[in-house]
Amino acid sequence: MSAAAESPGVRRGAVYDRSYRPYDGPRGRRAAATAALYRASIRRALGLRRSWRQKAAPFVLLAVVSVPAVVNVGIGYITRERRLPIEIITYRDYVGVSSALLLFVALVAPDVMCPDRRQRVLPLMFSRPLVGNDYVAAKVGSITTILFAFSFLPQLVLFVGNMLVSDSAFDYFAGHLDVLWQVPASVALLAVYYAVIGCAVASLTDRRIVAGASVIGLFLVTSIASAVIVDNGADRGPSPGSPGALVNVLRLPLYLRDLVFLGHVDATSPLGGVDHGGMYAVGLYVIVLGLGLGVLWRRYRWVER
């Protein structure tokens, strides 16, 4: 031993073999594993702990869907002295703006689902205390959460902004109490619907580009088909709407939004004037959700494929 090491007041170095330490703390089971996968999927969808390129798309999209709210509040602020009844966009309309998040679904659902299959990560996941339904719940839940947040946050900006630029914030709040449940309810219906369809389509392929194109294609094809059916039907009768409008799966959650906000389908919508149109819309919504979840359940029953 050196003299320096023996001198009082001089710290002696030490080498530790960290080796392996067993873990004896608390340990979760399925719920904990599902929650962990849910968090990991949210991180992935938002591009967190990834390069800036992966972060750009979700946050640019959030900025885009927030523009109407900011503009509306800005104009309200500028014209607040003139008492002009300017309302660029209503809360109900804003749910329709959120349908632009379909682009986000087409981008993110494949990114969250496909690499697990393509890079063969699934066997690693399912060697944990996790079953197929947990996996589906975590993935669909993560995308639903982000869609809900991205749809709800701009509405929150709109609500708070309108409240602040109004003559009386309390009066505005008291006069718009309905919005406090209508917006979250309609946005939740939209978010679950898009998330399930996005994940179901993405589960059918391990290529992101194919999955993204399929999601967009599904909505485009059904929109066009619906438009053709509705236009043909319009020539034959006085009703502005047609049951063929239900073919448009992109618009289906917006009929439910109408039910939440108005109690009936909007008369000017493609389904307007159709007897029991709201009921059909709810029924089809449930069927589409059921089909999507059925596809997901079947795809992740086993991990062998």
Binding site: Y20, Y23, A36, L124, S127
Partner: protein
């Protein structure tokens, strides 16, 4: 179930359409380092899937660590770690993120998972590379990351499917050294491989299967017999030794840079030692050569069980 029995398999059969992967396998395996040996297609990977509860046996039962796999696969998985043979890592994430996420999926709290991920990556020699994306890793580093994710949940038993596949000689030696160390941490290891040298080097118990049937199982040492051949390493002076042994009536040849002499009984072993001493040769090694596991496998698989 005996506490020392890690794995109990009873009349285990797994049939796929047109092929029987495992056929009536019955065995008890003790804790420790176990080699699951067989040619490609022998049923090793199927065995692992059955142990993890990822597929159901056609007939028979499996108990892992005293838990019936069919009754509680989740409990079994919470006690196991699994390192597949194939590539299975998300290439765009860092090793730290991946191992930490799999720690959480194993039921560890988030903070504990991150801490353990750091420790385990240090243990497998990836401490400096842990914040690099896995896509830039060499094959050896990816194998280490796969091993790390299998260990992060502190399993009782870790299943390693061909852990040295694709590694260069140095990487292979390092991986085998790591596997050998796991035993000292109280973690049992089951290593599926067709490389009998690997098993002979690190495993204290061997299970050999061929075409889904049990060939032989037992302690590695008990399967290896003395061959009546001694290996003598005297550096570069082989020919002096061969000549000396020949004059003493012992046949010898040069094999892999060392002299192999055929002897009969321990008296001739003393004779070999004396010849080396009389010639004044440096004696680096004098060992009795055992049968290899290759010979055991070929003998057992070729003959009746």
């Amino acid at each position: 179930m005996d506490a020392d029995v890690l794995l109990r398999v009873t009349a285990l059969t797994k049939r796929y359409p047109g092929v029987t992967a495992l056929d009536g396998l019955t065995l008890d395996v003790p804790r420790g380092r176990i080699g699951l040996v067989g040619a490609n297609g022998a049923g090793k990977s199927t065995m692992f899937r059955l142990l993890l509860g990822l597929t159901q046996p056609t007939e028979g039962h499996i108990q892992v660590c005293g838990v019936d796999v069919a009754a509680d696969p989740i409990e079994v998985r919470s006690r196991l770690g699994y390192m597949p043979e194939h590539d299975c890592l998300p290439l765009d994430q860092t090793a730290a993120d991946v191992v930490s996420t799999f720690g959480e999926l194993s039921g560890l709290p988030r903070r504990a998972a991150r801490q353990r991920a750091s420790d385990i990556l240090d243990l497998v020699g990836l401490d400096e590379a842990r914040f690099r994306p896995i896509g830039g890793f060499s094959t050896g580093m990816r194998q280490r990351t796969k091993l790390a994710q299998a260990l992060v949940g502190d399993p009782e038993l870790v299943l390693l499917d061909e852990p040295t596949a694709g590694l260069d000689p140095l990487g292979r030696e390092e991986m085998l050294a790591l596997v050998a160390r796991l035993g000292t941490f109280g973690i049992s290891v089951m290593m599926a491989t067709h490389l009998l040298d690997d098993v002979q080097q690190v495993c204290d118990h061997v299970v050999m299967i061929d075409a889904g049937r049990l060939v032989v199982a037992g302690e590695t040492a008990s399967l290896l017999d003395r061959t009546g051949v001694v290996t003598v390493d005297v550096g570069l002076r082989h020919h002096d030794l061969i000549a000396g042994l020949a004059s003493a009536g012992v046949d010898a040849t040069v094999v892999n840079g060392a002299v192999e002499a055929t002897i009969e009984g321990d008296q001739q072993l003393d004779l070999v030692r004396d010849v080396v001493a009389d010639l004044g040769l440096p004696l680096f090694r004098l060992t009795t050569r055992l049968t290899s596991l290759d010979e055991v496998f070929l003998r057992s698989a070729g003959g009746p069980e």
